[in-house]
């Protein structure tokens, strides 16, 4: 890849109190890549995402997105990024139309384009009939769809998805997987965090495995397979130091004795 990296992370460290969550992380991400970002609970995954989306402003090291430094141009960077958070926070007394109108305008979109696009997107996600219902009656999957739309409404260059499939039904999952491929073909860079190894295996063209604040594997699924094991699940468990999974299961069985 001859292009300049879209996201450059250099010696990124972050600690909460005395606990070091990220240890000198360095990383280059190129335009059009779909990054599968995986790691065990507490490995530093969401901290990385929060730094990348500007939610955590104080950190050590450099984060440069599209030539802009996070330390000085966080606002410009936020314009380039669409973020779908994991914890599904949403103003649920609003309707999807109202909520998306609000989000779109925060990105500075024009009313007409925004309304038009919102309608089309709601239609595409099968929410057209609920466009004007308050979201407090929505199912988890429906709210997740609205969140997904709010992450792509401004047509961002970079899309950061944190466990985006939670609550979605099989049809929606197929659609999102397809959507990720298509967005990547359009030149979007996608940062995909998940615990669902089979999905990550399929959608990403580069997999990053983080453990205890450090990246311990970086490459295509094919290359990881050659070096380590045959499924992503096994690779994950081998590299994150839990080869004794069988022992874990033993311990569970033994607990009944």
């Amino acid at each position: 890849m001859a292009e300049a990296p879209l996201i450059q992370i250099r010696n990124l460290s972050k600690s909460y109190g005395s606990k070091l969550v990220l240890k000198n992380l360095s990383l280059d991400i190129f335009p059009g890549q779909v990054i599968g970002y995986i790691g065990p609970n507490g490995a530093g995954k969401s901290t990385t995402v929060k730094i990348l989306t500007g939610l955590i402003p104080d950190f050590e090291g450099d984060v440069i997105v599209d030539g802009i430094s996070m330390a000085t141009g966080a606002l410009e960077i936020k314009k380039l990024i669409g973020y779908v958070p994991e914890n599904a926070e949403i103003y649920d007394v609003l309707s999807p139309m109202e909520y998306l109108d609000f989000i779109g305008k925060l990105y500075g979109m024009e009313e007409d384009t925004l309304r038009d696009r919102t309608k089309k997107l709601l239609m595409a996600f099968g929410l057209a009939a609920n466009a004007d219902d308050r979201m407090d009656t929505f199912s988890k999957g429906m709210k997740q769809k609205v969140l997904l739309i709010s992450g792509i409404i401004h047509n961002p260059k970079i899309i950061i998805l944190d466990e985006p499939l939670s609550g979605l039904d099989a049809n929606a999952v197929i659609m999102i997987k397809e959507l990720i491929m298509r967005l990547s073909n359009e030149g979007k860079t996608i940062f995909y965090c998940s615990h669902m190894m089979d999905v990550v295996e399929k959608v990403s063209d580069r997999i990053l495995l983080i453990n205890k604040g450090e990246i311990i594997a970086d490459g295509t699924f094919q290359s990881l397979k050659q070096d380590h094991s045959d499924t992503l699940e096994r690779i994950f468990s081998k590299l994150t130091g839990r080869q004794d999974q069988a022992n874990g299961a033993d311990a569970v069985i033994n607990a009944f004795d």
Binding site: Y16, L55, E76, P85, E89, F102, K105, G108
Partner: protein, 576 residues
């Protein structure tokens, strides 16, 4: 349909007026680096959400309304109505200062309490962290939007609450007093904000973030009790017409009350003939203090305030403070108590889940805890219900009578408050475990629940009451107390049998009560009321009461056995 449409229209237009008003400042704000379009959007959405959010102030009344969905216009109407009732105080014009001072005392207290109880959720909206922060909105815009949002909220409240008094003052002191009064309302509003800010700051400095929300909900509980108590007791305890003739300024402490300073402005400008140097000094103080206070809030308190709020909102703030359940001695004691009261494993599970969820569920506490205070208030209300006597006379009469049994019987009010709420929860879906697990005798869970309610809430409460009663009325009350307690327990089981047809915290919070249930509950109440009066008339024969305890105990035992045998057919299941 047209009706609700009109209401919505009125509310929308109200917000529009405020937004229009705020937009006058936009050019100035734009120069300081605020993004005007984003600011306008954030304010518009926040105001819309405020209108759709149920208010804590009317939480007590919410049950009466069918769905808990309150129309914002109704709330505005209530605010104006309350404003009107406070405004009536202004007619106390016997002495200078008096009417207005009382008015502003009530105005400010009400304002501060409403701010604390209703606005905390807005201030600590953790969702902002995930919805606003990832968007390209700069810090200044967010900070300004927060300040303006609070200001709009407060001013709307102040105007609605003060509107009736503006009119009343026009009648009393003439048309000129109206603009003066408007300024006085603003003074009072700013001083209330200052008060609230100080309270928040002290709380935030002294307690951990998690505790903060709990303390706020205790504030809300205290607020509803206060409103209730003033409504029932104040007219009994104080002769209002006497109040009007107190010469406030002969008491030195009056000079320390901010409402006096505010009232001074009216004295100075409208009744200049009877005002002197002191009044002008007080009036000047009243004018400068809010401004100085606002400056103090903006410069000194607000920065730390916002920082603390953001710490509270992010996970970092919560990371450090552990949410681990304390294993204090008190809990061990209750655990032992639960093993003693409910030895059967299923019953024990029912006991413990009721105890733990009741103690930790904020909504439950909000609805039930005020009832603990209502009982003595009701009692005093009925007991002091005599005309033409001084309070000490009435109290003496009270001590000579046997009315104390009613204190225990009134406590059944707590029992029904707990029972009516115990099966409801916003997180009722977690109750799937009851349906998924092989529970052959769900009656055991119910009996565990009932035992928990009695041992942890009702019995301690009655014990405290009894100790008080024995101190005031002497030990001959003991047999009455025991009997009344047992009869109350019968009432409790009857209520539980007929009214509470759900497992603990297993049903959604909708007050959907059929007419049949209302009648049942009234019948139960009438039955127990009859027994209570019977008890009252038999009280002169001490022995009879002692004997009465035996059948009461036996009936309790029988009914409880029956209650324990409830099957799945008797329990209303809810969709999980």
């Amino acid at each position: 349909m047209i009706h609700t449409f009109l209401i919505n229209l009125l509310n929308l237009s109200m917000d529009k007026i405020f937004l229009r008003f705020v937009s006058f400042f936009y050019p100035v704000l734009a120069k300081t680096g605020v993004d005007i379009i984003q600011l306008n959007e954030i304010l518009r959405v926040k105001l819309t959400m405020d209108n759709r959010r149920p208010k804590a102030m009317f939480a007590a009344r919410k049950n009466a309304m069918n769905n808990g969905q309150q129309s914002p216009w109704l709330i505005n109407f209530f605010t104006i109505l309350i404003g009107f009732f406070i405004g009536l105080v202004l007619f106390l014009t016997g002495m200078p200062y008096v009417g207005e001072t009382y008015y502003f005392i009530i105005f400010m207290v009400l304002m501060a309490l409403t701010l604390i109880s209703d606005f905390t959720t807005v201030l600590i909206d953790t969702r902002d962290q995930f919805i606003l922060l990832p968007r390209p909105v700069n810090d200044r815009t967010i900070a300004v939007s927060r300040i303006l949002h609070i200001s709009i909220y407060v001013l709307r409240l102040a105007l609605l609450q003060g509107l009736p008094a503006l009119v009343i003052v026009g009648f009393i002191d003439g048309i000129l007093a109206v603009p003066v009064f408007f300024i006085q309302i603003l003074e009072a509003t700013f001083l209330s904000i200052l008060m609230v800010n100080i309270i928040y700051l002290v709380l935030m400095k002294s307690v951990r973030p998690q505790r903060f929300k709990d303390i706020i909900s205790y504030f809300q509980i205290g607020f509803s009790v206060l409103v209730f108590a003033t409504y029932y007791l104040l007219p009994r305890l104080i002769n209002v017409s006497v109040l009007g003739n107190i010469n406030l300024l002969t008491h030195w402490w009056a000079y320390l009350l901010p409402p006096v300073w505010i009232a001074a402005l009216n004295e100075l400008l409208i009744h200049s003939s009877r005002s002197g140097v002191t009044t002008s000094l007080l009036a000047i103080m009243g004018l400068t203090l809010p401004v100085a206070g606002l400056w103090f809030v903006a410069k000194v308190l607000a920065p730390g305030f916002n920082r603390r709020l953001s710490v509270m909102a992010t996970s970092e703030g919560n990371n450090n403070t552990s949410t681990q359940v304390k294993k204090a001695g008190k809990f061990n004691l209750i655990e032992k108590l639960s093993n003693l009261a409910a030895p059967d494993p299923v019953e024990n599970a029912g006991f413990r889940i009721t105890w733990k969820l009741a103690a930790r569920t904020r909504e439950f506490k909000m609805k039930v805890y005020p009832a603990f205070a209502y009982v003595p208030i009701y009692f005093l209300y009925f007991a002091l219900n005599g005309k033409g006597q001084t309070i000490s006379d009435r109290l003496e009469k009270l001590q000579n009578s046997h009315t104390y049994v009613f204190l225990i019987y009134l406590s059944t009010f707590i029992m029904s408050a707990i029972l009516m709420n115990i099966s409801m929860s916003e997180k009722y879906k977690s109750a799937w475990v009851y349906y998924a697990l092989p529970i052959a005798e769900p009656g055991k869970i119910l009996s565990g629940m009932y035992k928990a309610i009695v041992t942890l809430y009702f019995l301690p409460y009655c014990l405290v009451l009894s100790i008080g009663i024995v101190i005031v009325w002497g030990p001959q009350a003991i047999n009455d107390l025991v009997l009344a307690f047992l009869v109350s327990l019968i009432y409790g089981i009857l209520m539980a049998l007929f009214m509470v047809k759900g497992l603990p915290f297993s049903k959604p919070v909708v007050a959907k009560q059929g007419g049949g249930k209302m009648i049942t509950s009234l019948l139960i109440l009438a039955f127990i009321g009859g027994i209570g009066f019977g008890h009252y008339f038999l009280m002169r024969w001490e022995m009879l009461i002692w004997i009465g305890i035996i059948p009461a105990f036996f009936i309790n035992w029988l009914m409880f056995r029956y209650y324990k045998k409830q099957t799945w057919d008797n329990i209303e299941l809810s969709q999980v």
